[in-house]
């Protein structure tokens, strides 16, 4: 089957910082590709290239096998790619419902009387957030006064609502409580089942493994490998992500230091399931 999105040998530098070097992977419709890697590995840079925020220095993007240039976020959106940015892309002073529909406002009326359909917008916002388990008190509340996790939920609800073909989520669960994180995972699965391609960035192998079909591992801007789920068991994924040996050593060190033995032991015990 033709992949929905193919990334071929993409590279990107900022001035003298090489953020990405020769990265390739594919995303199929109805599948989830997880991008994993340490801090600063270049994950956000990669998805910003896919969502039209940055242009790659080298390499190609192909949608349905055709090379495309995503020059602006609008172009990406029009190509059916919706993104939840790590830094969220919300306007703090604006009401929740205005943020939700920002850039894709529903209108009613005709010609010069075409206007923002506020009622619809408020209703949809409320409903989509309720579906995520977020009961906003007042859709007119400025986004800037929401808690970090609430804001995250609004951004995800928005992307899910507008994501037509490809949904990209950059660490959507990191600021979330357990309950909300579960809801997000369910959304990813739902989107996948609706036939969307999903790119999911996370540090948590326990979040990634159940939902992912492919795993792209980045380290310091380079690819450590691009695996199908069948090629890599959870334990190996965890080990690759966690830098297994290092973690072992860390636990070991803790054990030697003063009163930290117990923690060290606990951590070592956990090191298999450690997030």
């Amino acid at each position: 089957m033709e992949p929905l999105l193919e990334i071929r040998n993409v590279a990107k530098s900022f001035g003298n910082v090489v953020s990405l070097h020769d990265i390739s992977t594919t995303v199929h419709a109805g599948q989830v590709t997880c991008v994993l890697g340490d801090n600063g590995a270049g994950k956000s840079t990669l998805i910003k290239i896919l969502s039209g925020v940055h242009q790659p220095d080298h390499g190609q993007l192909l949608i349905d096998g055709n090379p495309v240039t995503l020059g602006t976020p609008r172009a990406a959106l029009d190509a059916g790619i919706a993104t939840v940015y790590q830094d969220l892309a919300m306007v703090p002073l604006m009401a929740i419902w205005r943020n939700f529909f920002l850039g894709s406002e529903p209108t009613k009326g005709w010609g010069p009387f075409r206007r923002f359909d506020r009622k619809l917008a408020k209703e949809v916002t409320r409903q989509e957030l309720l579906d995520m388990g977020i009961d906003i008190r007042d859709p007119d509340q400025p986004v800037g006064t929401l808690s970090g996790g609430e804001r995250q939920s609004v951004a995800i609800a928005r992307a899910v609502h507008f994501g037509a073909r490809l949904l990209i989520l950059d660490e959507p669960t990191s600021a979330l409580g357990v309950k909300q994180a579960g809801v997000v995972l369910r959304y990813i699965v739902q989107a996948r089942d609706r036939g969307l391609g999903v790119i999911f960035i996370t540090h948590n192998p326990h979040h990634a493994y159940p939902v992912g079909d492919r795993f792209l591992l980045l380290n310091r801007g380079r690819s450590l490998g691009d695996f199908a789920k069948s090629e890599i068991p959870l334990a190996e994924l965890t080990r690759l992500m966690a830098g297994g040996a290092e973690l072992e050593q860390l636990a070991h060190e803790l054990e030697r230091g003063g009163g930290a033995e117990k923690v060290g032991r606990e951590m070592r015990e956990e090191s298999q399931t450690f997030n």
Binding site: R115, R137, R158
Partner: protein, 348 residues
């Protein structure tokens, strides 16, 4: 434990009930409404002419011209930008119309359209440069401000050998223009400038645009967070350029109103007014940093300014101290405004 995942929680114990009054209090225009009332009562108590119909007609007149510009500038400021060239553009528009008709004999309507096209081009350039270079609009429009000032003077002097354009009342169609732009409407024996009517129309139109259209949503977004707006697909360039062009269109209207009313225009007309437009918008609750404000507020700001500048005369205060009173008024107005807003937010 929290409610179920998808359950609809009808009431939320964390939300204290909010009365209508308190909800009103968080509107950006409330502070300026209170300010306008205070200023009115203050001068009305000092001078009975001030509160008489002809007094009111008198101070509504400068307020209306200022108000139309202030609404346009408020939209621009909500969109995150300044336009220091707005004042001088009123002069540019009027001088262009005046020279083309009285010196080059062009048809009045063609001349009006030409001057509109000219200032719209200036607005376009302002917006385009601001977005493309990423430089602050303050500095870009300061550049066009200086350039237009030079152009207005240089061109006027070359063409007329003086520093003003005269005889505009002799152009064809002047009576129509006068009726539309500069006639007075008599209500209860007092003549009110028609500009007051236009002011009301512009205020309503500006509010509608801001609050009820998708373009309005983009204005708030672009001013509130440009990067976020770009990322969700708001056409930042188009929005910003349009805002600068709206300002130019308002300047065109005000400039031409002036040449119609006075039948002449001077090369330095409008110079220095740009700060006053901004002051009115800010008194009306616009944030200088963008993303917050209202058209009604800007109009109220213009009203406060109009009442103050004329009220000082009605009160018979020494002219040398005019600026002092004006500054004190401005400070009082914004401080009161801020106080009301803070109070309202703490009560929210």
């Amino acid at each position: 434990m929290a409610g179920t995942v998808t359950g609809v929680v009808k009431t939320d114990e964390r939300v204290v009930r909010v009365g209508l009054l308190r909800r009103l209090l968080v509107k950006p225009e409330l502070g300026s409404l209170v300010g306008a009332l205070v200023v009115f009562l203050f001068f009305a108590s000092l001078s009975d002419v001030f509160r008489s119909p002809r007094g009111i007609a008198n101070w509504l007149d400068p307020a209306s011209t200022l108000g139309i510009m202030a609404v346009a500038i408020a939209l621009l400021m909500i969109g995150g930008h300044f336009d220091l060239s707005a004042g001088v553009q009123t002069g540019t528009a009027a001088i262009t119309t005046g020279l083309l008709t009285t010196y080059y004999g062009l048809n009045t309507w063609v001349a009006l359209l030409t001057s509109l096209a000219l200032v719209l081009t200036v607005g376009f350039l302002n917006g385009y440069l601001v977005v493309r270079t990423g430089l602050p609009s303050f500095i870009i429009t300061l550049g066009t401000f200086l350039m237009l000032q030079g152009l207005n003077l240089g061109v006027t002097k070359i063409v007329t050998d003086t520093v003003q354009v005269n005889n505009f009342d002799q152009v064809a169609g002047y009576s129509v223009l006068h009726a539309v732009m500069a006639s007075t409407i008599t209500i209860g024996g007092t003549g009110f400038q028609i500009a007051i009517l236009w002011w009301i129309v512009v205020t309503i139109g500006g509010s509608y645009l801001l609050l009820r259209t998708r373009f309005g949503n983009w204005i708030f977004a672009v001013g509130g967070d440009e990067t976020a707006s770009t990322n969700v697909g708001v056409p930042v360039m188009r929005t910003t350029v349009t805002l600068f062009m709206i300002t130019s269109a308002a300047a065109w209207f005000i400039g031409n109103t002036q040449i119609v009313r006075l039948t002449s225009i001077q090369a330095q007309a409008g110079f220095g007014q740009e700060l006053i437009y901004i002051v009115a918008a800010v008194i009306g609750g616009c944030l200088l940093t963008g993303g917050f404000g209202s058209a009604v507020g800007a109009s109220l700001g213009a009203l406060i300014f109009g009442m103050t500048s004329q009220g000082i005369v009605y009160a018979g205060w020494d002219a040398d101290w005019f600026k002092f009173f004006l500054g004190a008024m401005l400070l009082l107005a914004v401080l009161a405004n801020q106080f009301v807003r803070r109070f309202a937010e703490s009560r929210r």
